[in-house]
């Protein structure tokens, strides 16, 4: 705490004060998408303000298929039950459990009923841009280079009425397809189910990696909070993230930052407990220190703003601040931040830090570089709704002032 205070008292000034009627940098690092305002307002909404990528949460909306074809040479998925049927059941239980981690968070619109069926497909190459969410354990992909264990491809629509496979977007930012690929061809990489992990200490925990990747399929980018499931670095072989889920607490592996992010992304309109918010600006003491290009930058961009529950000392939420947007857009880089869906009745301390720790801007690229579109990126883009994302400001230190 002393370090934080010392750091915050260093050279810059963070002016933390309230703002009204401005939508600030939403999200705890979500993948953002700018609607295509070249389309009629009926398709784009007419605003160039970024919207977070998200799934629909109506009953049965989020179906997943998984390939039962597992790599055998090398064998990449290790299970406790070695029989073919038992092995598949064990893997399927991990997938179900990992999905349950996310639907187990209280006060969100993402519930168990949002999940569609989990189906098996006896074909290796089911991952692709087909409008079906898939998990593949034995599908080669050109993106796999040495060291790449797994990744998730998420495809989002920037307008209403966009078709991918049999899915047609009904909202801007709707995720149309999200596929998880596990590396099938690296002989040095294996994944083990929780039941098999202790016997295979050199394997990666399938459940931890799957839960993290499923977070991407819901629209999360990475989090800069070290305890978060969406922190971009997975546990070392033989270990797992947080604690295992239980029937009593299915979301146990998640950190509060993940839960707060999920409540922000999939807010429950009937919730009355997680309705607190903290918002403000991160501004430099000397405006001349701001970048001159692109023009219009009036605040610190890309600061990691963190809320800590004073009573417990726990990090409750962290967000990447630095921008705001009011319809019809575009995004303004004014140093705004918003920490939303906090538990009411608690006291929080807030601090801002540069993104120069274990998480760097490259880890959260999709949450930062996709905030703007312009005529260079998209021919014919209206100038009035154009902007250019400034570089992330990593050269500041902060101190706080009380709200006016």
């Amino acid at each position: 705490m002393r370090d934080i205070i010392r750091k915050m008292a260093a050279t810059g000034i963070a002016l933390l004060y309230g703002l009204w009627s401005v939508v600030a940098a939403h999200g705890y690092s979500f993948n953002q998408i700018v609607p295509d305002v070249r389309q009629p307002a009926s398709a784009s909404g007419g605003s160039a303000c970024p919207v977070p990528a998200h799934q629909l949460t109506a009953p049965g909306s989020i179906a997943v298929q998984w390939s039962t074809v597992l790599g055998t040479n090398p064998q990449t998925i290790l299970t406790n039950d070695q029989t073919p049927t038992g092995s598949l059941n064990e893997i399927e239980a991990v997938i179900q459990q990992s999905r349950g981690v996310w639907t187990g968070v209280a006060a969100t619109s993402l519930t168990t009923s949002s999940l569609g069926p989990l189906t098996r497909v006896a074909s290796a190459n089911i991952c692709g841009s087909d409008g079906l969410n898939s998990i593949c354990f034995d599908q080669p992909d050109m993106a796999f280079t040495p060291g790449v264990l797994a990744f998730t491809r998420v495809i989002t629509a920037d307008a209403i009425g966009i078709q991918l496979g049999s899915v047609v977007s009904s909202e801007v930012g709707q995720i149309l397809d999200a596929d998880i690929y596990f590396n099938p061809s690296d002989s040095s990489v294996t994944f083990a189910t929780p039941a098999a992990l202790s016997a295979n200490p050199k394997s990666y925990d399938l459940e931890s990696i799957l839960t993290h990747e499923l977070g991407h399929t819901l629209g999360f980018s990475h989090s800069a909070v070290w305890s978060a499931m969406m922190f971009p670095f997975a546990p070392a072989p033989g270990t797992f993230t947080g604690v295992r889920p239980t029937t009593q607490q299915p979301d146990a592996p998640l950190a509060d930052d993940d839960r707060t992010g999920l409540r922000t992304l999939y807010s429950d309109p009937n919730d009355t407990t997680y309705v607190g918010s903290i918002q403000g600006h991160i501004l430099p003491a000397n405006p001349l220190s701001l970048p001159t290009a692109p023009p219009g930058v009036t605040g610190i961009f890309g600061a990691h703003v963190v809320a800590v529950d004073v009573s417990t000392g726990n990090v409750i939420a962290g967000t990447l601040g630095g921008w705001s947007c009011q319809a019809p857009g575009p995004a303004q880089f004014d140093g705004s931040y918003l920490l939303d869906h906090l538990l009411v009745g608690h006291t929080y301390s807030v601090y801002a830090e540069p993104l120069d720790g274990a998480v760097s801007p490259s880890d959260v690229t999709n949450a930062l570089v996709t905030l703007c579109r312009n005529a260079t990126t998209d021919p014919g883009w209206p100038p009035a709704q154009s902007c250019v994302v400034p570089p992330v400001n990593q050269q500041f230190t902060t101190r706080t002032r009380p709200a006016p």
């Binding site: 060291g147 629509a157 990696i209 997975a234 546990p235």
Partner: protein, 188 residues
């Protein structure tokens, strides 16, 4: 509890926290590669300058092809311009994204550890791990190199210590010395 005790207690908590973090030695999608492994897995290593990026649809997937001018190559043979392919990008109304993929701005100079063959697209070994950004100090003109994944602590069970093995703010001459030394060592 005295101030000293409290301070000691906080240190213990801090170290436990670090221990919990430091077992996080591998990226979600990435297994930690040491510098020598990056060199070993690379068919080419070069200092390149980003020229432009294009999005393509290939095999039903969206890819971003970034064109780089080769400024100097340290390992392997490379033509004057190369194309580095990464998953994700924007194609018509579809936005495909993969977290953890490095992106580049036109004009930016980086060292890339590449796998692939001339005449085809190259891929970056270990994504952020094979990406080393070059930053120039405007006052001194000195260049320094920082690996995208530089700040992840790694626990060494032998020394029971935590180290950040990534390259961060390393003077470019030192970086090249380290690189060339490793390339030479592997050529023996």
């Amino acid at each position: 509890m005295s101030y000293v005790q409290r301070r000691r207690f906080l240190w213990v908590l801090f170290l436990i926290g670090i221990a919990l973090i430091a077992i996080v030695a591998n990226a979600t999608t990435l297994a930690r590669l040491q510098f020598y492994q990056l060199v070993q897995h690379s068919s080419a290593i070069a200092r390149v300058r980003c020229l432009r990026a294009d999005t393509r649809l290939d095999n039903g997937e969206i890819w971003t092809d970034t064109v780089f001018e080769v400024v100097q190559h340290d390992k392997g043979f490379l033509p004057p311009e190369i194309v580095v392919r990464m998953p994700g990008g924007k194609f018509q109304h579809l936005h495909s994204h993969v977290d953890g993929v490095p992106e580049f701005r036109p004009g930016e100079e980086v060292f890339l550890f590449l796998t692939g063959r001339p005449g085809r697209q190259f891929y970056i070994v270990g994504w952020t791990q094979g990406t080393f950004r070059i930053r120039k100090d405007m006052r001194t003109g000195m260049e320094a190199v920082t690996q995208d994944s530089a700040d992840v602590p790694v626990f060494d069970p032998q020394t029971k210590d935590f180290t950040k093995t990534g390259v961060k703010d390393l003077r470019i001459d030192r970086f090249l010395e380290k690189l060339n030394k490793e390339i030479y060592r592997q050529s023996l």
